[in-house]
Every structure is written in C-alpha cells, then in structure tokens.
Amino acid sequence: MTDAPTARTRVRRLPELGAYDRETIDPILDEAVYCHLAWVGGDGDPRVIPTIHVRIGDTLYVHGSAASSTLRAIKTGLPVAIAVTIVDGIQFARSMFEHSMSYRTVIVYGKAEEVTDAAELERLFDAITDHVAPGRAADARRPNADELRQTTFVKVPLTEASAKISAGFPDDAEADLDLDVWAGVMPLTLTPGEPLSDPDLKPGIATPDYVTNWRRPADPS
C-alpha cells in the first residue's frame, strides 16, 4: 500500500481499510454513478451538492449548469472535496455498533479549475455521458455552441485522493459471539429495471442494447 499523499487524505479511523494507489481509486470513481461535491460558501459554511463526475486519466471532472451558483463559485479556483461512495452490502453484527456496511469510498481534495478549451469541452460531454451510460455518446446528438456555453466543466487533479474499502464479515467482540442473534452479510447491487421509452419517442426506434444491458461496473471499453 502506498502512503497517504497528505495529512487530510490519511485514513485515521480503521487505517487498515485505507488505500492511496490509483489502481484502487480509479475503478471506484469510474463505477460510482454520481458524487457529492463539497465546497465552502461565501459565508464560510460548508455546502454539498450531488452531481455527475467523470475521470479521464489523472483528472476528475464535474459539471453543472453555467448558471449554477456552485459551479460559478468553484470555477474560480475554490478548494473542493469530492466524495463518491458505493454500498456493496450490509454487515449484520450481533451488536448494534459493530454493524457496518461493505462499501468503497473515495475522497478527492483539490482546487477546481474551469475547462475553457472548446475541443476539450466537446470531449468531456461525450465522456460524462458515457460515464453514466457507456455507449450513449456515440448515439445522442452532441452539443451545439449555445449548449456548450450553458454548461461549465471544472477539473480537479487526482493528486490528493484516498480510498477506504470495507468488505467481509462483521467483527463482533469475542464476548458477543455467544449471543442468540443472527450475524452475516447481505450483498447489494445497483440493478437496472425495465427501460421506459419517452412518450414522444419517434415510432420504430428500438431500445439500444447499452440501455437494456446497463450494469455497474461497466464493461471495459
């Protein structure tokens, strides 16, 4: 295991669950459908919004409306914290406080920088669309100049990031093993239901395979 890049990325609580290598971090960022983006408002108080992210190489991107107060604030270079969490299951311990979740979480710290290059923005629209539904970008119409102006992308380098992973069975105290309480694990998976076509859909258009077969983690492209 590599070392934590900075003090604030170091996993202090259950440090054996912490990881700082990109081989661990990247697949978690790629699998998580959305993230929680934290920043500090003009009043000095914390804010958190849910948004969509995408990782390309060593950079994490988040986007939002150009009119969004969050994006307008952070694109000036504000420090942000981006958290993604995947819940893999529940660990049912005999005692309440030994209950846990099986989870994989990543926290990225850094300063947000606005992406302004037009070609890069076009590429990012494709990437963020494919982050959510791989295969979709090649199918949908790409943004025009007006639409490009209406969206802001910011990037954060993946230099200050940590992962924390919990898996396996609950860890009850020795004294509790004799309790008459069921203990064990239950896996949870994010699973698609039946796609629902837009009521305005033009007749004769079939539901694409990448929608019907949507899964997490996505198949490597």
């Binding site: 958190v48 309440m96 949908a140 309790l179 069921w182 896996p187 859909l201 929608v211």
Partner: protein, 221 residues
C-alpha cells in the same frame, strides 16, 4: 410548495425542482441509505465524509468514532451540511446536454451537538440500526459502556433544509424530437443478494424474517 427557509436552502437552478415541505425532506432522508457530511476544517477547506444517518421526527442523528477529528469537530458545534441523494432513474435524452437523472436529494444545514442523555442515546442507536433495515433494531444487542466510550452520537435539527426532486421523461428541445435516437428513462434499484451467515455464527440461529429475500429490492420506507 412551502418557501425556502433561508437563502442557502433556496434552489436556484431549476427552482421548480425545489421542495421545502417537511414531508419531502423527511422522505428523502429516510430513503437514502447513506449521506455525506461536510464541514470546514481549521484551514478553511471543505471536508466530506460518507456516513449513516437516521431521523426521529424533526431531528437528524449521526454517529461516528470519538477518535476521529471529523466527529470531534462536528460534536464541538462546527457548521455542517448533510446531503443525502437517491438516484431513481437515468434520463437519456436525444442530445447529450439534456441527459439528466431522476433523483431526490435533501440538504440539511446547521450545527450538531453531542447527545448525552441516556434514553436519547439508545433511541438514536436503535433508529440508526432501523434506518438501515427495519426489524434489526429489536434483534441486535444494544450498545454497552465500551461502545459508548468509542462512539458518539450527535443530533441536529432538520430546520434549515430543502429537497430537490426531478421526475419524468427527458426534456429535449422540440426541434430534436425528430432525431433517430432512442430516448427514455432507465430505473435503477438496489437489489439484495443472498445472505451469508458469519462463519462463527452460533448453530441453530435462523436467518431473520426481516432480511429481504435474494433478488428482492432492498426495502426502503
């Protein structure tokens, strides 16, 4: 729709998605399995931590390790922002910029304080257990003195809060409706897998009835 309680809870972007009534906020908090807690550290930078929450009436409860600096700061009354998000459906529009998600998110601002009264502590511990899976709170062993030395519980009023909700089909521009691109929504659900008992489970203890069966949707209120 009720009014936003304060400026920072006002939904500015897509104001029609803003909900300020208690019922909607409560429902989102109850249905979201986890939340992200953000606070501002001593250097003025945002920090974020995923955790499990529970609601009793108009009060939100969070728990964490006494040894963690995050929870020390939160228990000491740092201003916090708690955000919980439920993703209901992917929204696939004909154009990449109109892609969206049908989601429900709740944001609660305020200061937390440590719960010290014994009856409230036990009620909160039960509520957190029940939040994850109703029925479990009557089965699992209540915390003992050692647990309380390690874990603290904080409460915060759900007063300065708002929810944001998107539902329905994609919203393409009229001139794009004729594109030969499938559009619609894809529901996402959290599905339970097969429960596995702990290897050290005492013989003769049956799997509890409150556990969802394999392939069932994980129950949320």
């Amino acid at each position: 729709m009720a009014q936003a309680p304060t400026e920072r809870t006002q939904v500015h972007r897509h104001p029609e998605r803003g909900e300020y009534d208690r019922e909607t906020v409560h429902q989102v908090l109850d249905q979201a399995l986890i939340c992200t807690v953000a606070w501002v550290d001593e250097d003025g930078r945002p920090r974020a931590l995923p955790t499990i929450h529970a609601r009793i009436g108009d009060t939100l409860f969070l728990h964490g390790s006494r040894a963690a600096r995050a929870w020390k700061a939160v228990a000491a009354g740092a201003e916090v922002c708690v955000t919980a998000t439920v993703i209901d459906e992917l929204v696939l529009a004909r154009t990449t910029p109109h892609h969206s998600m049908n989601y429900r998110s709740a944001v609660v601002y305020g200061r937390a304080q440590e719960v010290t009264e014994e009856t409230k502590l036990y009620a909160a511990a039960k509520a957190i257990t029940r939040h994850v899976l109703p029925g479990r709170e009557d089965d699992a062993a209540e915390p003992g003195d050692k647990d309380w030395r390690e874990t603290l519980i904080v409460s915060m009023p759900i007063e300065e809060a708002s929810a944001k909700v998107r539902t329905g089909p994609p919203m393409d521009d009229v001139q794009d409706l004729d594109l030969d691109v499938w559009a619609g929504t894809l529901p996402l659900r959290t599905i339970a897998g097969t429960a596995t008992p702990s290897p050290d489970l005492k013989p003769g203890i049956d799997e509890p009835a409150y556990l969802p069966r394999s392939e069932q949707e994980f129950p949320r209120p």
